[in-house]
Amino acid sequence: MIRINCPYCGERDHSEFSYGGDATINYPSLDASEKEWTEAIFFRKNIKGFQFETWHHSNGCRMWLVVERSTVTHEIKSVKPCNPNLQKVVENNK
């Protein structure tokens, strides 16, 4: 029963969010090779502990978030907007 502290909306129940995926992937450019795309799409680490992952506040402000969550305890260490421009706005409003 995770709760995520959305930088825009505040702390909300996980039922408002949709899980995205691994937030650490640097997606290759569109003209990159099949091999690079294969790496980016199919190869995932199976982390025991904290990992960065994306969540979409789909029943809220619609912001995509980077959530640092423990796969063991569900503890959440940090929540940030995915978009660096929005990250700056959030920082400035603190």
């Binding site: 995770i2 995205g20 290759p28 795309w37 980016a40 799409i41 995509w64 305890t73 995915c82």
Partner: protein
């Protein structure tokens, strides 16, 4: 066994007599009774038949661990099976019956199974799956199919009502600083300490009364404690079970709101499913007394010792006349004394030889004796006992009841839900909870404390622990040491019986015997988890609350190991069963999921539409005239569209507004086909791929202005596409200046299709010149006004293959638009058409929808290779030809005709070669329709190698589900007007 109500005992309300029915006969009990205590007071010993062997079973306990008295409560639509009679409060008019017996529990024909025991030994079901060696080995499916219905009938406990549940249930949420589970001495002490330290406290108790095991004390006053707690401001929730602990201090509760009331207020839910978010959890869930395995240890009249104390002091029922108590620990002596004072003749058999205990000497103690066999079948006649150290010294004890206490198991279940493994404690012969970093503290006998003062001290220590962990205090505290008996317990799990095929039960509810455990070991199931699944030990709805430890000890003995080396199985929620009704709450019937309707929903219904669900949407399915059937109606509608004109509500399509200077670049990246050269005032059909090269969705995008597009998506994928676009813009392409907004609810859309569509639409517009073939060519877009100055957007887009337009107005104008179009369409003998006709029209044209784009199909598979640009890179372009996706035997979109044009087929039909009808064949039919244009059935689907490979071959359509087969031929998916001349007209 002779059970009877005593005058001077119990806390029941004798002024309130309650009538109830048991197995179709009338009985009486008192307010404060459970069904079990009322049955015992009426001297009813047999209350059920066992799972496999149909042995008569009685009441084993007084609580949630009950594994014998599982009964069916209520009748018809309120029939509730597998209810524990020991926790069901009695109410006036309660109707209950025994289970798993025909004709009744006293005379059960299937009792013969008792003599066929060797066929029902451990693993019976699994062996049936595989076949019975040597004749059937490996041919298990057939034999399982044969046996299944008998097994299911014979082994099925109670059966649920098949009628809709008339009761309502609800979900509720609450918050608190501290939730305390269990209102025994430890829980109450913890709650009081916490509320005095200003914490907001919820105290949860599964029983109807607070007090926990103290309810079995003859001088305990529960109302006084309840008042005290309430005056302190503690929220007490009785009849409420904490069935599971979850992440972040979330507790799941089930509150039984009206299960104890004869005629509940219909406005009140029957049960309430609570999600409680606490900052700290204290569990004082108590401990559960174990039985002992020996031959016939399940004869009605066998009970745990502590249960008999509850029946005596809480319900005023003396459960036997000549009572034998078998034990290995000190906990039984107080009960023995009280039973004896109440008039029973009591003998205690204690397996220990060397111990001292203080009693009033009103009963006999046989030191060093154990029970090994009960004589009797429907009731106990006598008990065979022997010296524990010398099994050759035996004798027979006359008795009508056998009470057992093989030790106590702390209820560590809730902690186990959090993945915390308990630790075996040799001194107390039980698993004890271990510490966790989560804010959960175990108190009382659920941490292995056997006396009340220790329990109270542990409650206070538990709250101090909570305060420290919450950062409110920094106080030293200590928990009392586990234990508390004067003499140590001596492990005693099984007394062996030398005769062959003994019935020594480990798990009463699933009829698992000590022999079953040994058989499982012989057959190689040596891990506890395997043992559990093979024998089904602990898998009944009591989850082995009494029997698990005995099973473990047997396995340890067989493996020559200690219990902790064998391990323990993990307990999972729920602690006690939770009804499906409570899980669904209000999400049933039409509230099962949200319902979406288009703004012209009422208009459609008013004009005769029959509706169908598409995703969450209600869409017009067909518009029958008078007595038309579905097929008559859609065939007429589709023909009318091809002949004159039809109008169809397409509002459910997803609609997204895309704005910003980089909009064109954005579309060019997400669509597989080029968008960079799309002019203002033009629309384009586009396909989106996923990262992995598979088709995600298709739709159109209309360029309304230099930097503004209007995108439509399929109905089913609308939400997904919106999230996808947001993801790309917020995570990958944050440099693009694009804004996406869902405008699905803002616009009402309609398709006007057919050769007369332009004329009809013309009559509806303020300025009829805007949609001439010159001003609005195929895929042209314009913004103009419907008559009455209603702004609208029109695109000349065709899904049906006819000359057609999509018209959008603001949702508020939906009905006006429909009135206007319909009024004019009627002049041309036009029609309203629904999804079924829309489907027929698009199948004729070979247009794909969700039925074809099922998440496995590439652009090439869908025959849309031309839509994949070679001049640019886009999402999915690097991956769409990877590995298996470039194989040339992939299934390619084709059309299907039945060889005999009079035949029909269904979607889901498997396409096979003539002499090779098996498995997944070489293709499949995804969509079918009767084609009014062609005059026979047609289909759309996929076949390996596509049209080129099979166009001259006769194939077979296999439809094993409907037991159908037909000959097929493969044709081009574009079954009508392949050049599209009609659309360009």
């Amino acid at each position: 066994m002779k059970t009877r109500r005593l005058d001077n005992y119990g806390k029941i309300n004798r002024d309130k007599i309650l009538s109830f029915r048991w197995d179709k006969k009338n009985y009486k009990g008192f307010e404060g009774d459970t069904l079990a205590s009322a049955l015992l007071a009426n001297n009813i010993g047999i209350v059920g038949r066992s799972f496999k062997y149909h042995r008569p079973r009685g009441i084993f306990s007084s609580g949630v661990e009950e594994s014998g008295a599982l009964v069916t409560i209520g009748s018809k639509d309120r029939r509730d099976p597998n209810v524990r009679a020991t926790t069901q409060e009695l109410y006036n008019g309660l109707e209950a019956s025994g289970q798993n017996a025909f004709p009744n529990v006293n005379f059960d024909l299937a009792g013969i199974n008792n003599y066929l025991g060797r066929f029902f030994a451990a693993g019976f079901y699994y062996k049936t799956f595989m076949g019975i060696p040597p004749f059937e080995w490996g041919r298990g499916t057939a034999i399982w199919m044969f046996f299944e219905k008998f097994i299911r009938k014979a082994a099925g406990m109670g059966s649920a009502s098949e009628l809709p549940d008339p009761d309502s249930y609800e979900h509720a949420h609450d918050f608190c600083d501290l939730i305390v589970v269990g209102s025994g001495p430890a829980g109450v002490a913890a709650a009081i300490e916490a509320v005095e330290k200003k914490l907001d406290v919820i105290l949860v108790e599964q029983d109807s009364l607070v007090g926990g095991d103290q309810l079995a004390e003859n001088n305990f006053d529960n109302s006084q404690i309840k008042n005290q707690l309430e005056n302190l401001g503690i929220k007490i929730m009785t009849r409420t079970t904490a069935f599971g602990l979850y992440d972040n201090c979330v507790v799941g509760l089930l509150e039984r709101v009206t299960d104890h009331i004869s005629a509940p207020n219909v406005n009140i839910p029957r049960q309430r499913f609570w999600t409680i978010r606490a900052k700290h959890i204290i569990v004082g869930a108590g401990a559960i007394e174990r039985h002992i395995a020996f031959n016939n240890n399940d004869i009605p009249g066998v009970m745990t010792v502590n249960a008999s104390k509850h029946y005596l002091n809480r319900y005023g029922v003396l459960t036997g006349k000549r009572i034998a108590i078998a034990t290995n620990n000190d906990s039984v002596y107080e009960t023995a004394q009280q039973l004896s004072e109440a008039g029973a003749n009591v003998t205690v058999l204690d397996s220990r030889t060397n111990f001292e205990i203080e009693t009033n000497k009103s009963f006999e103690i046989r030191k060093g004796y154990v029970p090994y066999n009960i004589n009797g079948s429907k009731k106990i006649h006598s008990l065979d006992i022997s010296k524990s150290e010398d099994m050759n010294k035996f004798e027979t004890l006359n008795c009508d009841q056998v009470l057992l206490s093989g030790g106590w198991s702390p209820a560590v279940h809730l902690l186990s839900h959090r993945g915390v493994k308990p630790k075996w404690d040799y001194n107390n012969a039980c698993f004890l909870p271990t510490d966790t970093k989560e804010n959960i503290t175990m108190v009382g006998s659920s941490r292995g404390l056997w006396n009340k003062n220790d329990c109270i001290a542990s409650g206070i220590a538990g709250t101090t622990d909570a305060l420290n962990r919450l950062g409110i205090s920094k106080t030293n505290y200590f928990f009392p040491k586990p234990g508390g008996w004067k003499n140590p317990i001596q492990p005693l799990y099984e007394v062996k019986y030398k005769k062959s095929r003994p019935k020594s039960f480990v798990d009463y509810q699933h009829d698992v015997t000590t022999d079953d455990v040994r058989l499982a070991h012989r057959e190689g199931f040596i891990s506890v988890e395997h043992l559990k699944r093979y024998t089904t030990l602990g898998m009944a709805n009591d989850q082995g609350k009494m029997g698990n430890i005995i099973g473990l000890s047997l396995m340890a003995e067989l493996l020559n190991k200690e219990i902790p080396e064998v391990g323990t199985t993990v307990f999972r929620p729920p602690y006690t069963p939770v009804s499906i009704g409570a899980l669904s709450g209000r999400n049933v019937g039409k509230h099962f999921r949200p319902l979406r309707v288009t703004p012209m929903h009422q208009w459609n219904i008013g004009h005769g539409a029959k509706m169908i669900e598409v995703g969450l949407y209600q869409r017009p399915w067909y518009y029958p005239k008078e007595n038309e059937t579905l097929s008559e109606s859609y065939i007429r509608e589709a023909s009318t569209v091809r002949k004159t004109v039809g109008i169809c509500d397409v509002t459910s399509l997803g609609k997204i507004s895309i704005q910003g200077p980089d909009s064109t670049e954005f579309l060019n990246r997400i669509y597989s086909n080029g968008f960079s050269k799309l002019q203002v005032g033009k629309a384009r059909y586009g396909i989106m791929l996923r990262d992995d090269g598979i088709v995600m969705d298709d739709g159109t995008s209309w360029r309304l202005a230099e930097n503004e597009y209007f995108m439509t998506t399929s109905t089913g994928e609308a939400a997904k596409v919106m999230s996808w676009l947001e993801e790309l813009l917020q995570t990958r392409w944050t440099d693009l200046n694009v804004n996406v907004t869902s405008v699905s609810e803002q616009w009402a859309g309609v398709s006007v299709a057919g050769p007369k569509s332009r004329e009809v639409l013309n009559n509806c517009l303020d300025d009829s010149l805007v949609i001439t073939n010159n001003n609005l060519p195929f895929m042209g877009v314009t913004s103009t006004f419907l008559k009455g100055n209603i702004p609208c957007r029109i695109a000349r887009i065709s899904f049906s293959g006819e000359l057609a337009f999509e018209v959008y107005v603001k949702s508020d104008f939906a009905n006006t638009m429909m009135d206007l179009l319909w009024e004019n369409a009627k002049k041309y003998d036009g029609c309203l058409y629904g999804l079924e006709a829309l489907g027929a029209l698009r199948v004729e044209k070979g247009h794909v929808t969700a039925a074809e784009l099922d998440g496995r199909v590439t652009i090439d598979d869908a025959g849309l290779s031309k839509m994949a640009s070679t001049k640019k890179s886009y999402i999915g372009s690097a991956m769409r030809k990877r590995g298996v996706l470039k194989n040339n035997d992939r299934e390619i979109l084709v059309g299907f005709f039945p060889t005999n044009l009079k035949e029909t087929f269904n979607a889901g039909t498997i396409v096979c070669e003539k002499n090779n009808i098996k498995g997944q064949g070489i293709g499949r039919i995804t969509s079918v329709t009767y084609s009014p244009e062609l005059g026979h059935w047609i289909g759309l689907g996929f076949v390996k190698g596509g049209l080129d490979k099979w166009k001259d071959t006769n194939l077979v359509g296999a439809d094993p589900v409907r037991n159908k087969q037909m000959n097929l031929k493969v044709v081009s998916p574009h079954m009508i007007d392949p050049k599209g001349e009609r659309m360009y007209a």
